[in-house]
Amino acid sequence: MTQQILIAVIVLGLIGAFFAVVLYFVAQKFKVVEDPLIDEVAEVLPGANCGGCGKAGCRAFAEACVAQGNMDGLRCAPGGEPVAAKIAELLGCAVMQGDPQVAVVRCNPSFCGDKRRANYDGLTSCSFAATVFVGESGCAFGCLGCGDCVAACQFDAIRMNPQTHTPEVDEAKCTACGACVKACPRRIIELRNKGRNNRRVFVSCVNKEKGAAARKTCENACIGCSKCEKVCPVSAITVADSLSYIDFTKCIACRKCVPECPTKAIRDVNFPTPAKKAEPKPTPEALGEPKTELKVEPVAVPQPEPAKA
């Protein structure tokens, strides 16, 4: 009995030793030499594999960073500045500065659920619906409402509003990876600078039809009247193909254009309540002040709440 056990142990031991030797040589022969820095960089990245950087995933981004030796032209949107700083430290290069951005939906539909014009019941996919017809809204440029952008978002930052059938971006969650921008067949979503205190002014329309036709399509369509272009103090607004566009790098968020727009196609977000709107502070010099003003306001709001509780 003991002899049998002994034989088994010896035989298995010898087989094990043999394969260990084989594996050792094979491992030496096919050794993959990889820069350990890649692992370190990949460790720092968020690991969402969103593809917003244009690479296949976070590891591919890390490889690109290490291969390049610096971060020129490489940007991890979800990681933002802290991650960029960490990678730069690992690589020993300067940090690339960029303004934080956010996805902006440039469609402001005047139709609601009860105004559906086509009763489309085909495949729930914008990229398919775009090839079949104009969309429920009747606008050949506007949102199709099937939610390709929602499906593309890795961060749950974009949701479909059931009332308006258009997507809404959650600014807190949006990392500006640009997945929704690529997913939208109508190119409605744009990455724009977040702006000071998240305050942004943008034309919420991409309709290039001529004025009357655009107005017929949608009450909130840009009709290309150029009123906003004339009133802009910093020439940030250009009108081409009956469509106005605000260059976010030039815009100073003075909001002079907002009341000018006859169709309310220009939207301002995250500005103080209308009561404050009356206060004249449109000049670039005055812009420094509201910053402190607004900071007081959000603090002032939560304070009464604990008092009530």
Binding site: S127, T131, V134
Partner: protein, 442 residues
């Protein structure tokens, strides 16, 4: 009786407008003529605002290879040249014409006499097809002059005319056969001459016995026209299926019919060819079926291209029933729902199909039960359920490797699916993605 070998379905035929003779719909006060009524690039407008045009005058010229001429269907003044929303709401370049009188070009022979003799050489026939803006009227609107210019090194052996009219509801080809059999046969003879083939085969499904009898009687008077009665099966009228049904040949994946020596044209095209070659009349009219189960009357009508859907409805059935769910351009299998009834009709339109609210709805989608019905139904031998899964997963390369581009979008898979999965939609999306991927690689 002959038919194609693989797949196919037999939807309810519903040829309820069979007995309605072709009626002429009057010209509207204003006409909009789209510049891309054909497969390929839009034609370039050659008229300007304020120009006077006559019926049949060239208003859009083909300036690229894959393009067809567009002619004015009415006489009047050009109001403007501006994009207009087509039947699906998408903006398309167009010429707007205010109608004044009905003055035709002098070259057009408007007499009712039938001219049998055609002395033109094959090359002259093809160039005249181009001049007259003839496109395939089976639905794809492929420019005819390209189809009949056989590339060097290839030889046409068969000319096949598609009179199968396998789509449910449609009866326009049937009415053309019943009322214009002689003209159709002359048109077929001209096309046969253009290709230099010994025989032309006209495939007609056996659910049209009167048309078969009439065409057989007429074909006896012509040389080299053979009538092929076919077993009723959808999609018999699809190019590759019709070739398989008539000749037994199979077009390999990624190849064209001419690679197996076949050229296929629609019956409506043959009629248009007769009018273009023998009567000098460009393609300015459509024969449409206006039908629907709940409509009080059924119609087949001759309309000028550019008449809006609303005008056609007004002059035929009066007004849409209140319960209308969808208006479809084309048959129930491959047709598309019209979202803009103010849109003009274009070359290749074959019907205005009014579906009632209930029959227009799709049933709710359920999970795939792996029954394989879609595979059995597919006339191209593809695996629709697989495409559905791969397209959903975004695996475009695998979709391409499984020959998605062979799909003819006939809708048999969706029709046969007991779980009501929108298989054809998913495949179309997959095809678009594959084409985009191929374009990006170039």
């Amino acid at each position: 009786m002959k038919t194609f070998k693989m797949g196919g379905v037999h939807p309810e035929e519903n040829k309820i407008s069979n007995d309605a003779a072709i009626q002429v719909v009057p010209v509207s006060a204003q006409m909009v003529v789209l510049m891309n009524q054909h497969l390929g690039a839009p034609a370039t407008p050659v008229v300007q605002k304020g120009d006077k045009v006559k019926v049949g005058q060239l208003i859009g010229e083909a300036q690229t290879f894959m393009c067809a001429n567009v002619h004015s269907p009415v006489s009047g003044t050009v109001l403007k040249i501006e994009p207009v929303k087509d039947a699906f709401g998408l903006l398309k370049p167009a010429v707007h014409i205010t109608v004044e009188g009905d003055e035709w070009m002098d070259t057009i022979d408007r007499t009712p006499d039938i001219k049998r003799q055609c002395d033109l050489e094959p090359a002259a026939i093809v160039s005249k097809l181009k001049e007259m803006g003839i496109v395939g009227l089976g639905g794809a609107t492929f420019p005819a002059h390209i189809k009949y210019s056989v590339p060097e090194g290839k030889k046409a052996e068969y000319l096949i005319i598609n009179a199968a009219e396998c789509e449910p509801y449609l009866t326009s080809d049937y009415r053309v056969m019943m009322e214009h059999a002689e003209e159709v046969c002359i048109g077929v003879s001209i096309l046969r001459k253009a290709l230099g083939v010994p025989n032309a085969y006209i495939g007609i499904e056996s659910n049209k016995p009167q048309a078969i009898a009439k065409m057989q009687e007429m074909a006896r008077q012509f040389e080299g026209i053979v009538i092929e009665p076919l077993k009723v099966k959808y999609p018999q009228g699809a190019e590759k299926q019709l070739i398989n049904a008539v000749t037994g040949r199979k077009v390999p994946s990624g190849k064209l019919p001419i690679d197996v020596g076949c050229v296929v044209s629609n019956l409506g095209t043959a009629f248009a060819v007769y009018e273009a070659i023998q009567k000098n009349k460009p393609l300015i009219e459509n024969i449409l079926t206006v039908t629907g189960k709940k409509l009080p009357t059924q119609h087949n009508c001759l309309v000028r291209i550019g008449t809006t859907y609303n005008d056609i409805i007004k002059h035929t059935i009066g007004e849409l029933p209140a319960t209308t769910g969808k208006v479809i351009s084309g048959g129930t299998m491959m047709g598309k729902a019209v979202v803009n009834l103010d849109a003009p009709t274009v070359k290749g339109n074959s019907s205005v199909l009014v579906m009632d609210g209930d029959e227009a709805r799709r049933n709710p989608e359920m999970a795939c039960i792996r029954c394989g019905k879609c595979m059995n139904a597919c006339p191209m031998g593809l695996e629709p359920y697989l495409f559905s899964a791969l397209v959903k997963a975004g695996r475009t390369e695998e979709v391409q490797q499984n020959n998605i581009l062979d799909c003819i979008e006939c809708g048999c898979c969706f029709f046969s699916c007991p779980a009501n999965k929108p298989l054809t939609d998913e495949i179309r999306l997959g095809k678009n993605r594959v084409r985009a991927m191929m374009a990006a690689k170039k």
